[in-house]
Amino acid sequence: MAVNEVAGGTLGSEAKVAADGVMALLYAIARVQDGDQHLNLVVAHSKESQADPHGIELAGFDPYYERALDPDDTVAAGLQAGLYYARSGLGPADAARVVAAARARSEVLDDVTVEDVLASAPTCDPLRELDRAPRMDAATALVICDESTMRARDRSGVRLVGGAARAGAWWTARDLARADEARDAADEALALEGWEPSSLTRIEINAPFAFQQLLIGEALGLGDGESLVRRLAGGDGTAGRVNADGGWLAGSATSVAGLAACGHAVAELRDRGGRALIHGATGICAQSHAIALLEGVA
């Protein structure tokens, strides 16, 4: 409601999807695909400086059995990180490389080194302050349209191919060291289009903690161990760049990160062509996952 007027929504058709912006994008695609709309404005926004993040995240926990322990997403992520590191053999130094790579690509945050990350203040063991994307005020907007509208406007665009989503189980009811729903959503989205994973030229993983990006990247088939870290932290020279603009760790916000990544990908795909897979996560310990596929039209 708060953005109705600034989004030009007055007396127009507007809906709010309460999740990462990729979910809003998937709904917007349906509104265009069934002919209801020719042009659709998709907006994601979050002003974290105006809120009490701990209080809001606390309200996301089970009011009967969990809230009395005063948890927040960082507390849960600390437990998840411990489980993931134990299973994968990776550790804080690997996540720190992902953070350093993201910050090096950031347009709004200062660079940090691996040493800076490992020396930052402990939060919830084994996590440190710089393991998590900083709280940001952020907003992003995309316009999507049907093919006839794009042709009529004589614009070479980026084809929004489609997507898929999967809701995961509550954080205490699943194996936190895996992200099967992210894999299933990506597999479905790719299969619907007949795309091979190897055809992707850009992959964007959006979760607020560096280790979660490794965890989800592994689920998406980007490798494991050192090869996985190299895919996310750069420097391996393979095709299919991951988080080319740094992703959430380079400066974004809850609800915004996935849709913002779509915007970054559009700019590249329009100029260079290629295929992009954009991931967005929602919920405690990246509970649910959404995938959008975009293709540059040469």
Partner: protein, 389 residues
């Protein structure tokens, strides 16, 4: 792009009540879902996606859909959570429609739920108003509707007596609906007028109750819909229009309901409606206060502007009138907010499917449903027995 024909094929509701102390909110939502799926013998693995609606701030559970994954049967499925104020139940139905009409999904479960006894509804609604200009004078739903009703009385000449007749009609209709919260078989116009003022001119019995409750629907595509229901409720229109945030920016808000008029114009165009009073056989509209039903009928074109009082005086919207409005008892008889607008759509679907039980209106072929809430936002749907061409 062409829309795939889509229809509501099943609905389910809880028995709405002030306090459901016997169930958690998740269990309550599941109760409606089980009734909905059970109505057609559907299993969760036949559902492609789930759309959920709830007012998170009422019960204070952030991302409640993620907490309720199990209850919603959404594990491993796409789960869309919508937040559009009191409109949200209808927004759920609209989203179910578009997700099916797009061809992406074949069968979708839509769920709305609210357990107001778990939280503080009016405190949450107060935050909708601007913290500097609005909260001190129009806090909560009652203050808002009192302001709007005062304007409406001034503009239309409608009387407290005419509003009281609406309040009585709703409660007597509700006596035929086993799921309605309020069952007041002995209610009279005098009782309404003698009930205390909550905020002038709104008497206590002019206002909706505060309810715990849930509602679910299943929306299905073309042949799937025909397989699942003998008479699917086909969607012929799904329209949305939202008004400006500040009440002062849309003056005479209840007298001139811009979002309702805009949504009606869009929806009627989609469904080929030219004469709403005669084209519809029944209407389920979102009237949180008695005055709202009269004003909404005017703005929906069911009667002329200023003619709302005449509608109720002449009995035109009674169960035995030419256009029964809210045979379920409406919002005045049950208001579990996150479910309320979905109940309007579900009740309209039941009427079209011929499955409304004791409050079934004879011969319904086309029904109107609206959702209203937030900052004067409207969702509107037209349902019909005729499959769209």
């Amino acid at each position: 792009m062409t829309a795939v024909p889509a229809a509501i094929v099943a609905t389910g509701q809880t028995k709405h009540a002030s306090r459901r102390l016997d169930v958690s909110m998740a269990e309550m939502a599941r109760e409606a879902i089980d009734r909905c799926l059970g109505a057609r013998g559907l299993a969760f693995d036949e559902i492609d996606a789930v759309v959920a609606g709830n007012m998170e701030m009422f019960e204070g559970i952030y991302l409640v859909d993620q907490f309720f994954i199990d209850a919603l049967g959404a594990l491993g499925k796409p789960l869309f959570k919508l937040n559009t104020g009191g409109t949200v139940g209808a927004s759920v139905a609209v989203a179910c429609y578009h997700l099916v009409a797009s061809g992406r999904y074949r069968t979708i479960l839509g769920v709305g739920f609210e357990k107001q006894s778990d939280g503080s509804t009016q405190a949450a609604i107060t935050t909708v108003g601007d913290p500097i200009w609005e909260r001190a004078v129009m806090a909560g739903a009652i203050g808002n509707f009192a302001t709007m009703a005062s304007t409406y009385i001034h503009e239309s000449g409608v009387t407290e007596l005419q509003a009281a007749k609406v309040a009585v009609k709703a409660r007597l209709n509700a006596c035929r609906n086993p799921y309605a919260h309020l069952h007041l078989p002995d209610i009279t116009v005098e009782q309404v007028l003698e009930s205390e003022y909550l905020a002038h001119p709104i008497h206590r019995l002019d206002m909706c109750p505060s309810s715990d409750g849930a509602c679910a629907i299943v929306m299905a595509a073309e042949s799937e819909a025909e397989r699942l229901a003998e008479h699917p409720a086909w969607v012929h229109a799904a329209a949305t229009a939202h008004d400006q945030q500040y009440m002062g920016d849309s003056p005479k808000r209840l007298a001139v309901m811009r979002s309702l008029r805009a949504a009606a114009a869009k929806g009627y165009r989609q469904a080929g409606i030219s004469d709403p009073f005669h084209d519809f056989d029944v209407a389920e509209i979102y009237e949180p206060a008695s005055y709202a039903e009269l004003a909404m009928c005017e703005n929906l074109g069911i009667c002329e502007m200023g003619g709302g009082g005449r509608l109720i005086d002449e009995g035109l919207t009674q169960m035995d009138g030419p256009l029964p409005v809210n045979p379920s008892g409406g919002v005045l008889s049950a208001n579990p907010v996150g479910a309320t607008a979905l109940i309007r759509v579900a009740e309209a679907a039941l009427q079209v499917m011929g499955e409304a039980g004791d409050h079934q209106v004879d011969g319904v072929r086309r029904a109107l449903a609206t959702g209203y809430g937030g900052n004067a936002w409207t969702d509107l749907m037209v349902l019909s027995r005729e499959r769209p061409s």
